[in-house]
Amino acid sequence: MEVSPFVLLVSRLQFAMTAFFHFIFVPLTLGLSTLSAIMLTLHYSTGKEIYKDMAKFWAKLFAINFALGVATGLVHEFEFGMNWSVYSRFVGDIFGAPLAIEGLMAFFMESTFMGVFLFGWDKVPKSVHLLSAWLSSIGSNLSALWILIANGWMQHPVGAKVEMAAAGKRAVLADWWTVVFNPVADVKFWHTTTAGMILAAVFVLSVSAYHLLRKQHVEFFKKSAYIALVFGLIASVGELIIGDLHAHEVAKTQPTKLAAMEALWETKEGAPVLIAAWADEKAQKNVIEIPLPIPGLLSFLATHDFNGKILGAKELQKMFEAQFGPGNYIPPVNFIFWAFHLMVYLGTFFVFLFAWGLLKYKNLENATGFLKVALYSLPLPYIACWLGWATAEVGRQPWIVYPLTDDYGKILMPEIGLKTAQAVSPLTSIEVIITYVLFALTFTGLAIADFYLLAKFASKGPEKEAELY
């Protein structure tokens, strides 16, 4: 039974689409749950009413956003079995466990205590209310941990072996703690949750800038902006360091992804970083490249040695062909290069944005230039998150489970590699088209309704309202 290339294509598009929709809502949940817990803590520790209004206002926006995060996340969990049944049965022994533990340990905690936080005002004791806000925030970040352990395993499948079972070949767990402490998963966790914090900080800053530009609720939004600026500066500086650690892990474990991220065709010692490049992918060379004038910087970042050797795409292609037979083993270079570089440029911009805001803070309501930039920066962290995911997931292609690799290109376990083309469910074209179109329409419609409500409540400012559905 051969699955048609069309079913494969639509299944991939559908997964990418639902993942992108999901990731509109998730990073804000991760960061804003922490920010509103901080505000609530300030309220209960200082007794000041303004922090109570702040916690209520931002938690309301959080709740509108959360419903769609859950709804789109639900699709994902079932989409593995629905569209990627061969993948699911091949990896289920390992991949399923973190997903199940995510539900049991993290997601229950997040959603149950979020209910207490949102509806418990004056109904539960203060200490319980505060604890609930923090448990909900911890729950959402723990949830990210388990999901990224699952995703990290697809990138770097450690702690597993391959065996024949009653219904065919599959990967089985060899060592649980190796899977949990997978270095790739762990840097991914820090990278993603920090991104969520930056995004939430920009969100709070941007909404605050909107009101400050109109000189309304000045004290309220100045205080909100201050929390966002401090939180955001810490997170964005941290992200530069974590991002560097992450790239270092990629260099070790996914050499083809790194070669595409840096448009590196020839194997090089002392490779420079390119600030811009355009590749002719057929001819396997760059048409344009503008290097940063620091020799060996890429080698240093990737291997922590200025003369370190990095394998180029050409050599990797030959190496993979020898190991796995004919096929294209290099992901789309221009796409990955620009997705990765734009993400890095945006990440750097956020550091400046937060630092600029803190410098202007004393007279923030009159710093029109800064407030305008802050207001229009709202889409940028979302774009940065998407670009990051695109780099990670498209950069993994043609693999859905990357063959276990370490030490900058030593393939340790070729048999565990599974190509995306092998992993798709044996469905018909009509089925995948129906679900693709209806998911696209539904998510677009709901996202519009969601943005409308977010904009409505964000621009309304803090108002007393009953905590009711």
């Binding site: 039974m1 509108i64 419903a67 769609l68 859950v70 709804a71 639900l74 969990e77 079932f78 079995g81 629905m82 049944s85 061969v86 699911s88 049965r89 289920g92 022994d93 390992i94 399923g96 466990a97 997903l99 199940a100 533990i101 539900g103 049991l104 340990m105 997601f107 229950f108 959603s111 149950t112 205590f113 209910g115 207490v116 949102l118 509806f119 109904k123 009653a166 219904a167 065919g168 070949k169 089985v172 767990l173 060899a174 649980w176 092998q422 469910s425 044996p426 469905l427 009509i430 089925e431 679900t435 209806l438 539904t442 309704a449 409500l453 007393k464 309202e465 009953a466 009711l468 559905y469």
Partner: protein, 399 residues
């Protein structure tokens, strides 16, 4: 019955599914009752707020049951979800609309906006309950799945032999046994969640909504009991055929004595009669207990005692759910093509190591989850009514 890891996991997954139907079941029921028991805008807000702080925690049971099935029985997860592709897709769409309906409905003043989301709450709740029942019924009656390893394929696993659109139509085709049985179990499930929703509304609300809910409850009891009896009767007639005992022995991977026990029950044509009633004593006990609980529920609703009604509707489902699980054991998805192609809890499960790791996680976290969910429920179990909601809205607008 063997007390090995696979059996423990079969019980745990059943508990998670039961946990889902018990917790999300009542809010599905409240959703179906939304247009019937709540007429005015304030009443509808009461209805939604009756499940307000708890419904999304309830839905997590679904996510966790899905995750646990993926982790403990990956072959089952992969085969079932790709086989029931369109049906599951509709359930997901309905769950999405339901989630956002609650969130969006009261955030705009416009009449048509509210009406749209009210309708959405009703239909999405109805569809989820119906299709979950349809899926359970179809699986029990056997699906046309094939173990591709028998045909020498190393990767595909269990694959649905029918193609779309036949594969979907047959799930609700009343002229096919599994479709008919699926439909009937679906309707029974809808009636059950309505009963469970009635329990909750009696417990959580007072005034006009509780009164109307009680009347609905008194009306749905008899149809539910009749449907339950019909489904049980039909379930008794379900049989499966073994085409090749050697293949069954090799590919079902049952413990030898369990395989012997099943093999000894086959007739000369290889047919396993009354396949879901291989342990009639246990089966009958569970079914009778479920029926007694349903009677207890009726008495509680008559007495307008919400807490007691909730206990009895919960018990009804627990007994009925375990009757289903024990009936099918050790089969997870019986194949209607030939029993040797079935997914069992043995050939469909994860490795011993994964099952052990997951068991440790479940032993640690499940009691914690149940404890704090129970605690949250207790905290939010104050009664609400149209009057109390009105008061809360007025107080907020006075500030």
């Amino acid at each position: 019955m063997h007390f090995d890891l696979q059996t423990i996991w079969a019980i745990l997954v059943t508990i998670l599914i039961a946990g889902y139907i018990i917790t999300d079941g009542f809010d599905l029921g409240v959703g179906i009752l939304h247009l019937i028991v709540a007429k005015t805008d304030i009443e509808r807000r009461v209805n939604i707020n009756a499940i307000g702080p708890v419904w999304d925690g309830n839905e997590v049971w679904f996510i966790t049951a899905g995750g646990a099935a993926f982790a403990a029985f990956p072959e089952l997860y992969a085969a079932l979800f790709s086989s029931l592709y369109i049906a599951l897709f509709i359930v997901l769409l309905a769950l999405i609309y339901r989630a956002v309906s609650f969130e969006f409905r009261s955030k705009e003043e416009s009449e048509s906006w509210k009406k749209f989301w009210d309708q959405s709450i009703f239909w999405s709740s109805l569809i989820v309950a119906l299709l979950i029942g349809v899926a359970i019924g179809n699986v029990l009656a056997g699906l046309p799945i094939k173990n591709m390893a028998i045909e020498g394929n190393e990767l595909l696993g269990f694959v649905y032999a029918e193609r779309f659109p036949i594969s979907f139509i047959n799930l609700i085709n009343p002229f096919q046994f599994h479709g008919l049985f699926g439909l009937l179990v679906g309707i029974t499930t809808v009636l059950f969640v309505i009963m469970h929703g009635v329990s909750w509304l009696l417990w959580k609300t007072e005034g006009s909504i509780a009164e109307r809910a009680r009347n609905v409850g008194l009306k749905v009891w008899l149809p539910f009991v009749i449907m339950y009896v019909v489904c049980t009767g039909l379930a008794y007639t379900i049989s499966f055929k073994v085409n090749d005992p050697e293949l069954a022995k090799k590919y079902l991977q049952l413990p030898p004595d369990m395989f012997q026990q099943i093999a000894s029950m086959l007739d000369e044509n290889g047919v396993l009669h009354h396949a879901l009633f291989r342990f009639p004593a246990i089966e009958l006990t569970l079914i009778v207990l479920a029926a007694l609980s349903a009677v207890g529920w009726l008495l509680a609703v008559r007495a307008a005692n919400g807490a007691r009604a909730f206990l009895f509707s919960t018990l009804t489902f627990i007994f009925a759910g375990f009757a289903v699980m024990f009936g099918a054991y050790p089969l997870a998805v019986p194949s209607s093509i030939g029993l040797e192609h079935s997914i069992t809890i043995y050939n469909g499960s994860s490795s011993q190591l994964t099952l052990t790791v997951m068991l440790v996680a479940a032993i640690i976290f499940t009691p914690i989850v149940i404890a704090y969910q129970a605690w949250v429920y207790k905290m939010f179990l104050f009664k609400i009514s149209p009057e109390s909601i009105k008061r809360e809205l007025e107080e907020a607008s006075e500030h």
